[in-house]
Amino acid sequence: MSAALSQRLVRPDLDTLMPFLGAGILVVAAGVVFPQILGANYLLQQLQIAAFLGVLATGATIVILLGHIDLSVPWTLSGAAILSTALVGSGDPVLSALAMPAGLLFGAAIGLINGLGVAFLRIPSMVWTLAVNSMLLGLAVLNTGGFNPRGEASDAMVFLATGSVLGIPASFLTWMVLVALLGLVMTRTGFGRYLRSAGFNEKATFLSGVGTPGVICLAFATAGACSALGGILLAGYANQAYQSMGDPFLLPTIAAVVIGGTSILGGRGGLLGTIGGAVFITLLTSILSIMQIQESWRNIIFGAIILAMLLFQSLRKRGAA
């Protein structure tokens, strides 16, 4: 078991590779019709944009590995963006410097609230995070008066979202650093192991002497901080925060995680596949809009391709079993 497990951590399986393959096929197939897709400019730009979804999906992967789900992503993201742009907008240099840490801390705090409800009150995460999301929405409306929040992004936020280092988008690098850090946590610490085993079987994990409530809280707090980072990046990209900026990200986030081979039931999957899932979904969205297809058909094709990938994964497993 442990040999198989360590092998999986070192050598990614087909589930993890599939979204990358899918993304490759997508680029090549679309590149035949639109040669500009194969250019470095376009692909680097896609990596820059994929990072926003990718950061959110990285946090979502942690929670989904645990066998839970976080539906509070949209307003955790918007809340962190509103908070940090407001701090920068105050003009005070100290507050501006605190903008990003404050945003991340806000996200972690919301995540902790999510985790407390799930771990101690045993409320299903789908319902509790939904309620937290609607409370955050209410707070944001009350705080901003229903108008677009005032404020601006700091230089650091703008750089992280739109800058580049040696030609590689800074947002993509931020995402990779985050994945590497969390990847180390997942493989090298007790928390990572407890997270997976709690996803497989929470009762057995608890009976083995693991403080599962603490694991749940920490996982949700991490996911909340990831959502906040996504919000900060998006605010840097748009140079402002705006109402409901997070709404279009909720479902693609879950789709990216699942396409990346992580089981929605928890326990199985990993952060590596999620990278492929986020890249695949970003490319699919972008290529569909380059083809100037109507929004209606874009929705239909998007849903059909995701279904096809899921079916392929599931039926392949059945064939192998």
Binding site: V127, W128, L251, L315
Partner: protein, 321 residues
Amino acid sequence: MLDYVRSNRREMIAAIVLIVLLAYYLITHPRGPSTYVMTIWANQCLILALAAAAQFFAVVVRGIDLSVGAIMALANTLASHLLDGSGISIVFGIAAVIAMGAACGLLNGLLIVFGRLQAIVVTLATASIFVGLALLLRPTPGGQINYDLADAMTLDVLGIPTAIVITVALIVCFWLPLRRTGLGLGIYAVGSSEQAAFQSGLNVVLIKVVSYTLAGVFAALAGLYYGFVTTTGDAGIAATFTLNSIAAAVLGGVLLRGGVGTLVGAFAGAFILKTIASLMFFSGIPSLAQPLFEGLILAAAIVIGGADVLRVRDKLEVFAR
């Protein structure tokens, strides 16, 4: 009688809360209790109640349907094309809308059962397809629904709001008989333990597919009734109704782990949620603070529902929940 109360504790609590809220609403309403006030209230409630009923049929077999709102939008836009004529064509139009809902639900069920996929990801993908189809039918809100028909369905019968008559009729003529059939018992058996149901000789596959089909039918009815209330077609209603249908079902005592809850409970949960929203409107709370209060009340209701976990003596019991 006492046994009945005890075995339907969750529904009883929901019913009492609803009665208190409704009484308070009617007292505080500036126009006082009248057929007009009741009709407006009941119409809004019934839309969400039908959506919650759709969610109930998916949740009771231990699934979830994230395409409820999407099927509503599709049904609503289809109705705005088909229900503008008169007489016989309207009858066929209604039948077509309901058949379309059944087909959507059937597709969900078949993918979940035969594709061996998780309900949450399947319905996430099909929701995208259904919304796409709805946008194809109505890129912008518009169309019309026969006014006479809409009036007949949304006004009152002898002083009683038609929506209330429909609610009672659904419970008495559909739900109570269904409970006594093999299917009605089967959905609870499958939801409680799929394996035990299978080993008892139940046709688990058929029961699950039929249950998801019923979910599709009720979602279509919700979209149809939304059309009667607004007399137009709008493809943009999907997101709010999906999430609210889950919240309503949970408020009405339907457990997300399956096998627990009733259609009556889902109805009651929806009525409670809508009554709270209507109460806000006249309560004198500043309009900007209303979304926050709605969120707080939703969260409070869920926390109270989950509070009996604190009374559990055996710590291991919580993992079975």
